[in-house]
Structure formats: C-alpha cells, structure tokens
C-alpha cells in the first residue's frame, strides 16, 4: 500500500511539472503589444502633411501676405489678432485654414528678425489666442518674403481692407518688421503653425 502511494506522489509531481511548464510557455508567448496600440507617429504624419499642404495652397492663392500685413495688434504694429477669426471669415487665410483644418486645433506664431536693436534679436508674436497643445502636436513652418512694394491692409469692422500704402511707406515703428535691406526685399517672416 505504501509503495503505491509513493508512485502516486511521483506521478503527481511530474504531472504538476508538466502543467506548470505549459503555463509558463503560454505566459511567455504573450509579446508586449503596448507599442502597437499606441496612436503613434502615423497620426502626426498625416496632420503634418495636411498643414504643410494648406500653407502651400494659401501661398498659391496669395492669402498669406494680405493677412500678415493686416496690422492692428498690440501697439498697432503686429498683425491684428482677429485675422484668423472665422464666422464670418475675416481674411482669405482664415477661410483656408478653417476649411482644411476644421477638425484640428492650431496656433499660429510669427518669427522675425528685429534689426533695429543691436545685436539683432528674433522676436515671436502669436496671432490671436494661444491654444494649449497636447503632446502629439506637429509644427510646420513656412517663410515668406515681404517686399517694399507689398500693399498694407487695414483692419476695419471684421474685414481687412487694402489701403493705398505700401510697406516701404510705413514709418519704422508702425510695423513689426524692420527693413533690413536696401533692395526691394523688406524682410523675411517665418510663419509657424502648431497643430494638434
């Protein structure tokens, strides 16, 4: 009788080992899938392509300069904060941005060189409201050349109207850009759109 029970114990031990070993195999087999469930870089890529294309379309339709030269912001020398407002669209640029980026939020910044101080510094202004970006935001930049002969626009009653003045006619302090060349080029502005 005791001999049989010893055999049973051994058998139990061996079968127990088999069960635990197969449990281990099934456990280790599970690969870490957390990276694949991440929203990840693909979504950012699509948004970045969308914003890049939108800015290119805006440039093609000459929508960038009339908005960026519609002054009336802080101390009247920067672009008016309402140039990106919609319903109704204040500028062609706000219409384009609103139409193509209607399910994304974005903030537009302008970077430009201020050569009226020495040494020159780079200033940044934000147009309108600065939104709170989430972690996965994309940044797209585009540089625009402003010419001496570009027309200046005036913000009036939710509309940017063209004036008879050109950029070179404006006194130094009344425009955010500084004329940093004796030729036809007035300045370069970098438009930075952060979208999420």
């Amino acid at each position: 009788m005791s001999g049989d029970r010893g055999q049973a114990y051994t058998l139990e031990g061996v079968i127990g080992a088999i069960v635990i070993a197969s449990a281990l195999v099934l456990g280790i087999q599970a690969v870490n899938i957390e990276p694949w469930t991440d929203d990840g870089p693909e979504q950012g890529d699509e948004l970045r392509a969308q914003v890049t294309d939108t800015l290119e379309i805006a440039q093609d339709q000459n929508a960038l300069k009339p908005a960026l030269l519609c002054l009336g912001g802080t101390d009247q020398s920067t672009p008016h904060p309402n140039i990106l407002a919609t319903s109704p669209d204040v500028t062609r640029l706000s219409a384009i941005l609103n139409d193509t980026l209607d399910d994304a939020s974005y903030t537009v910044y302008l970077n430009y060189k201020n050569t009226s101080v020495s040494p020159p510094v780079f200033n940044q202004t934000v147009i309108g409201q600065e939104g709170e970006s989430t972690g996965s935001s994309v940044v797209v930049t585009r540089q625009i050349i402003m010419l001496d002969s570009d027309p200046v626009y005036d913000y009036n009653n939710r509309n940017c109207q063209r004036t008879d003045e050109e950029l070179q006619d404006l006194p130094i302090d009344s425009v955010y850009l500084t004329d940093n060349s004796k030729s036809e080029t007035y300045a370069i502005v970098q438009m930075r759109v952060v979208a999420w």
Partner: protein, 304 residues
Amino acid sequence: MVKNDDRSQLILIAAILIATTILGSVILLNTLHSDADITAHKDSQSVKQTERVTSEVTDNLRTLFFAFDSVSEAGEPLPYISNSNPSLFEENVTKYSRNYTELSTLSGTGVLDVTYDDSASISGAVFRQNGSGNEFPNSASPPIDVDASTPYMYFNISASSVTDSSSVDFEVEQGSGIALDKKSGGALEVTEGSSNIICQWGPSDLPDTIQIEVTNGTGEVRGDGTACGEIEIDDTTPITFENPGDATGQYIISVDSTNSVGASINDPDYRAAFTGIVDPMFDFTYEDPSLRFSVDIRLFGGNS
C-alpha cells in the same frame, strides 16, 4: 519506520525534480524568445523636409527675382534682372539664404545655402504691352519666336472681352497655338493646337479673367486663379496675335538671347524690351544631420 523514511525521501526528490524542471524550462524558453523591437518605425522626415524646403525656397527666390529690378525700373513685377545689377542680386540672394537659415534654425536643424550663379544664368529680354492700353496687338506685328525653351510667358485676359461667337477670337498662334474660342450659346473654350481643348466654361460659370502661364514649354491655364488645365508647347512657332478682336488683358513674354528677335523689336505695340537676366540659376545646398542635398536650380526649369 523504514517505509516512512523512504516516502519522505521520495517526496523530497520529487519536489526537487519539479523545481529543476520549472527553472530549466524558464531559462531555456528565455533564450529562445526575443522581444519585438518596435523602434523600426522611422519617419522619413528629413527627406520630406528637404523637398518642402526646395519648393519653398524656389517660391521665395521667384518672388525676389520678379520684384528685384523691375518694380523700380518698369513699375511692375517682371521676370528679369537688369544687366547692370547681377552682383547686387547675388548679394541679396546670399543675404536671403543667411536670413532663411537664421529663422529656420530657430525650430529645426536644417542649414540652407543658396547662391546666385551668374555665369550659368540665361540672359535675354522681356516684352510687354506698350503704353497704358490693354489691347492685344494684331497679326501684322513682328513675331516673337516662342518655343519650348522660352523661359516665361504670361497672359491675363478678360473673359467677357472675348466676344465673337462665329469665328475664333483671340488666337495667339494660328492653327497650332493657343486660342480662346467663344461659342454660340456663351460657352468659352481654351484650346491648344487645332483640337486639343484645355479648359472650357459654360455661360453660367464664366470666370472674370483667364490666366495662361507657361514656363519652358509647360504651363497651365487658370480661370480666376483656379487651375483648370495644362499646356505643352513644343513648336518653334512665332508668337503672333491673330484675331485679338476686342479682347483686353495683359501679356508678358520673355525670350532668351539666342532668340533672333531679341531686343530688336521696334514696334509700337510692344513695349521696348527690358533686357537682362531672364532665367537665373541658383546653386542650392541644404544640409541636416542625416542628409545632404545639393542641386543647381534654374528658376524657370530650363535644363538644357
């Protein structure tokens, strides 16, 4: 009792066996298995960025080229740099390149270096309407040779001024060139060659202005700024305006110096040509930690 000692020994051995089995299988399976390495997704951002920068800088240089001399000399943007000024233009391009890099490195790592290459640029002349009128000259005018290597050609025609519905009105070249044809019923067609319709509009959606812009043989037709078709010119055919009728608008045609007509046109219908560089060449280099790209870009794409 002897048998109890044997039992306990057996139980101990079984327990050790189980423990060894488990340990052994864990170690063995660990060496067989390797984790998925998920950092393989790389964004090819550098190269896409390079493409974008190339197109943006070419845009900016085009704006600079159009405005540089012509606004002060001719009063409007025209595609030429006067011959007396290439070094000033060169300076401005270098300055633009530096400014561009300064601004772009505020939020990125790419470095741009663009210089103007005068020796490889094409010189020639730019023709435009004479006087303050905006009518197109008639076919008796001396021709300008236009072919696939003509740097730049631009027409801006008022659609409502194209009126004749019984015969073709406003042809640029007879037969094989560009024509605007107002049909009876009010539809308007833009054709190239004798039968190739590039754009057409019905009477209800007629645009205000029609633009035709051709650089180096290829170009597009636009109605009120919206592109509607593409053009290809591969003939060496003189540009003459046939049947302009009452059509009004503007034209700008630049030719290179190998064109035999050049600046010798002395016709009241063509404004005295502005001579200078009509197709500039730029040496373009863009560099970033993982990529280096350099190319010689001719603004209007002439690659010969």
